[in-house]
Amino acid sequence: MPGRGRCPDCGSAELVEDSHYSQNQLVCSDCGCVVTEGILTTTFSDEGNLREVTYSRSTGENEQVSRSQQRGLRRVRDLCRVLQLPPTFEDTAVAYYQQAHQLAGIRTARLQKKEVLAGCCVLITCRQRNWPLTMGTICTLLYADLDVFSGTYMQIVKLLGLDVPSLCLVDLVKTYCSSFKLFEASPSVPAKYVEDKEKMLSRTLQLVELADETWLVTGRHPLPVITAATFLAWQSLRPSDRLTCSLARFCKLANVDLPYPASSRLQELLAVLLRMAEQLAWLQVLKLDKRSVVKHIGDLLQHRHMLVRKAFRDGTAEIDAGEKELQGQGQGQALGDEDVGSSSLELPAGKRPSSPALLLPPCMLKPPKRVCPAPPVSMVTGDEDISDSEIEQYLRTPQEVRDFQKAQAARQAAQGTPNPP
């Protein structure tokens, strides 16, 4: 501190009070000469009152970092430890957080955003190392809203210019399936519901792959598809005992949250399996429905590539052909094509031949909710005359204005007296 004296060595007035471990020292900032220092040794009785200072607090490394940044970095480290990530992930996530903190937009953001930012950095690190971590998990850990999280995530990816690969579905299946508590008997899980982990994993993977091939995964949240696939895999491994168990009960047993879209994904997956079953000779004779097809999932999965090829026409080729035939039709071509398309199967007389369905995402198979007619092309030049009468229709007459003002005043008065007599 200037004014406190001069350094005996170089004579500068720039003396700084600095602490070296637990010892106060007055140091010259020019030459480094220690001018005065506190007591280095203590008596035995004094030592009993002293407390040791941790290294991180004594080195001053945190004096350059602001408190909010320190808090954020601590949060990042805690998240990594809770998620049991490998140690290298922590360093990367911390580096990203520090980088993000240097951006002006982030430094001045609200605390809520900075907390969410910690989660974003961890998520980006995991994505880049192919560690399957969903945004839902992070949001639960952060107690944050998904929309706040998504806004911050998109912003930080853009600002830092990061290349974030997609979520790896296979790894996600493995981690998610392993979290189902069905692999050993317990008071809540009867023996007939217990399943071998490897078998269930492999079957679930095959079902998810099938869903991916048949447009059930693109554009949708991956988790409900995996839940539905796990449920089907589990059911099919011992159908006689498990067909009675519903999806909701299954998730409760397994101690896993049931995502809302999982039931519709389940229906879609069953529809695909039914279509495939129609192509298997020995299954055609059994009139399968959504429940009975589960028993044959094993067979269907074994020949899934061939069955998918046979069961579904290429949706895109059909659309091109169908467009030429069905131009002008308001309905989706899918329906028209299904009726028009002829089946190559030889079925017993009397049975309507089932034409191969189109391999399209479900949103394209459903009929459009409302047919939007093309808006008529209006030849408006923008410089047309505007008639007075057209404008007058939007204005209140003086009488109306008076009435409106009276009504407003009356309303104010009514609000002013909340308890009318």
Partner: protein
């Protein structure tokens, strides 16, 4: 009979299709030609009409589709047709008359076309070798050339107006050369050299693009071995500015055949007067004003169905229109309402801020594949949003691409940007047709 000579642009031997003109260069050893008698045209003054491509070629050039919106153009009507200036009776009447018609067509179609926002002159080919003495090759006539060439049946049947300038440059140059030859033949009888004095007062808006001009110099030099014949007649169309080729009036994309439909236009306009929002909300039936929620009046009109946010500073935002013209009409209607309420509202700086369009490519798209190959432009987070967000760099448009094949384009300030963006994305999407 005779044409009245305009005094606005004096002494410009401004042939009907003035070639690239440098404002400062007076080409030719001749002094400014004295007022030439305009060749009397026996035909009645043709009614101005839109140029059509059915016109026959005039020395290889036909009426351009698009005409510049140069204000000075009208004065160009009155200049003598080029070759006949020296020989009042020599120039073939049909040529001259059709030149006039073309002039008129151009001028009349000025009004029909939206003003081009592009620089008035795009790179032009200096048609005349003598003109090349000017150090700044004029631009501007290239687009005319383009348009003229497209219409010309003999040279090219392809409509080039949608192509960028450089693509049609070669065609232009070729047609220029050919036309030069033709014209030279036609004017063989003319003994006197007709120089093209460059109009000194060409309008200031002419942007000179020397690079393309110099590029075309080389084309013209060899062609014009006979420099005695400057061809004033580059029977080009007129003028000085042209609509950018990239804003076609009837946009049919050649490759995809799908035209994105505009769904929403956001525009702003400055009414240039302070407004009393309370008074507006009181006197207008279609207005809502809740100062605690938002500091502007929200006004709606039925035709065109739009919503406007009117701020007390006099600025207004108009949303919901389905075309640029509708947006402008709606904004004018809002301004008129404000005027009728007693404020001195004007209509300044109307600008389109954003345009949103949508279309359907009709085949499913594998978004995972698209994000893998176009990583630097795409962002696909199925956990957050079912569509892929593609940020195109040129033109700067954001596209939302969905698995069903529906595409939403947004962020455009001009309609052409949207069409261009869709044309750019369509081949990419076709590549991801199969899963």
């Amino acid at each position: 009979m005779g044409w009245v000579r305009s005094s606005a642009t004096p002494s410009l031997v401004h042939h009907l299709f003035p070639p690239a003109i440098c404002g400062s260069v007076d080409v030719g050893d001749q002094a400014r030609p004295p007022a030439r008698p305009l060749v009397p045209c026996s035909q009645p003054w043709p009614r101005p009409r839109l140029a059509t491509s059915s016109r026959g070629p005039i020395n290889g050039f036909c009426a351009p589709h698009a005409w510049p919106t140069q204000p000075q153009l009208h004065s160009l009507w009155l200049f003598p047709p080029f070759p006949t200036s020296q020989l009042p009776t020599v120039s073939p009447p049909p040529m001259e008359e059709t030149y006039l018609e073309l002039y008129l067509d151009q001028c009349s179609s000025q009004d029909a076309l939206t003003p081009s926002r592009s620089p008035l002159l795009s790179p032009a080919v200096p048609y005349d070798v003598d003109m090349l003495t000017s150090s700044n090759p004029e631009t501007a006539f290239n687009p005319q050339l383009e348009e003229v060439t497209e219409a010309s049946g003999s040279f090219s049947a392809v409509d080039l107006s949608f192509l960028p300038d450089e693509l049609s440059q070669e065609n232009k140059d070729q047609t220029v050369i050919r036309s030069k030859h033709e014209v030279e033949e036609n004017c063989k009888t003319q003994s006197r050299q007709i120089r093209l004095p460059l109009p000194s007062q060409l309008d200031a808006g002419l942007a000179l693009n020397s690079s393309s001009g110099s590029g075309s110099h080389s084309h013209l030099h060899p062609a014009d071995g006979n420099s005695a014949q400057p061809s004033p007649e580059k029977p080009h169309s007129m003028p000085l500015a042209s609509i950018t080729p990239m804003t076609p009036m009837a946009p049919i994309s050649e490759c995809s055949g799908i035209v994105p439909q505009l769904q929403n236009i956001v525009s702003t306009v400055n009414l240039a007067c302070k407004l009393d929002l309370k008074k507006i909300a009181l006197h207008a039936k279609n207005a809502e004003y809740n100062p605690k929620r938002f500091a502007a009046v929200i006004m709606r009109i039925r035709e065109p169905r739009t919503t406007a946010l009117i701020f007390s500073s006099g600025k207004m935002v108009c949303t919901g229109a389905k075309s640029e013209e509708q947006s402008r009409l709606a904004a004018r209607k809002y301004a008129r309402v404000v005027q009728k309420l007693g404020f001195p509202a004007r209509f300044l700086d109307f600008t389109i801020q954003n345009m949103v369009a949508s279309c359907d490519v009709r085949f499913p798209i594998s978004l995972e594949g698209l994000v893998l190959t176009h990583q630097q432009f795409s962002s696909y987070e199925p956990e957050l949003f079912p569509g892929l967000i593609y940020r195109m760099v040129k033109p700067r448009i954001v596209l939302l691409i969905f698995v069903s094949g529906k595409v939403v384009l947004t962020g455009a300030k001009k309609r052409s940007d949207i069409y261009e963006a869709f044309e750019n994305i369509y081949p990419i999407l076709k590549g991801f047709k199969k899963a």
